[in-house]
């Protein structure tokens, strides 16, 4: 009961965060919004694993997605710094 309600709350919050991803004045606002949505997604994956009682599978997926989110933010930050000069 507690797992599914926190998951729905986090999904609604990350959909609110999409507003800054579309209407952000600069391109850096959009990169920041995608980083926030990625962090929320790792937490939602772990919570869904607890809800469906298959904990060991979904925790492994959450580890991989956290690393993927970090690498993507670093790569696009490095590209924007070299491109905007």
């Amino acid at each position: 009961m507690i797992y599914i309600s926190v998951s729905i709350f986090l999904i609604v919050t990350s959909a609110l965060c999409l507003y800054r991803g579309i209407f952000g004045p600069t391109v850096f606002d959009r990169v920041l919004a995608i980083n926030v949505i990625g962090t929320k997604t790792t937490v939602i994956i772990a919570l869904i694993g607890y809800y469906f009682s298959q904990v060991s599978l979904f925790v492994d997926i959450a580890i991989v997605y956290a690393m993927l989110n970090f690498i993507m933010t670093l790569v696009i930050g490095n590209y924007l710094e070299k491109e905007m000069r």
Binding site: L16, P25, F28, A33, V36, S56, V59, L80, E81
Partner: protein, 104 residues
């Protein structure tokens, strides 16, 4: 003893969800890019740490709890580093900070 750990884990889950909400409200309402990064960098990292720690308290075996603690340590190192890289790229390309005089 089991019910005591359940209540503490529920407190961690609800507190983590509250910090996520506060960080996203800061992302929507702040006037400048650097102030928005303050809100999300702090609130998001702390909220994720609290929710995953509350899940690790309710794990059925020890290996799952160790994996969740590893995710928490990785997020505590990775999120501020990514914030620093984005902030440096924004400063180098000319985004100017918000001053108190321009009221918009």
């Amino acid at each position: 003893m089991n019910q005591f750990i359940d209540i503490i884990a529920m407190i961690f889950l609800i507190g983590g969800a509250f910090f996520f909400l506060v960080g996203t409200i800061g992302l929507l309402r702040f006037p400048d890019f650097f102030t928005r990064m303050h809100a999300t960098g702090k609130g998001d990292t702390l909220g994720a740490g609290m929710v995953l720690f509350g899940l690790a308290l309710q794990a059925s075996d020890l290996l799952t709890a160790i994996k969740l603690i590893l995710i928490v340590i990785f997020i505590f190192i990775a999120n501020p580093t990514a914030t620093h890289v984005i902030s440096k790229a924004a400063y180098k390309s000319g985004v100017s900070p918000w001053k108190k005089e321009d009221k918009n």
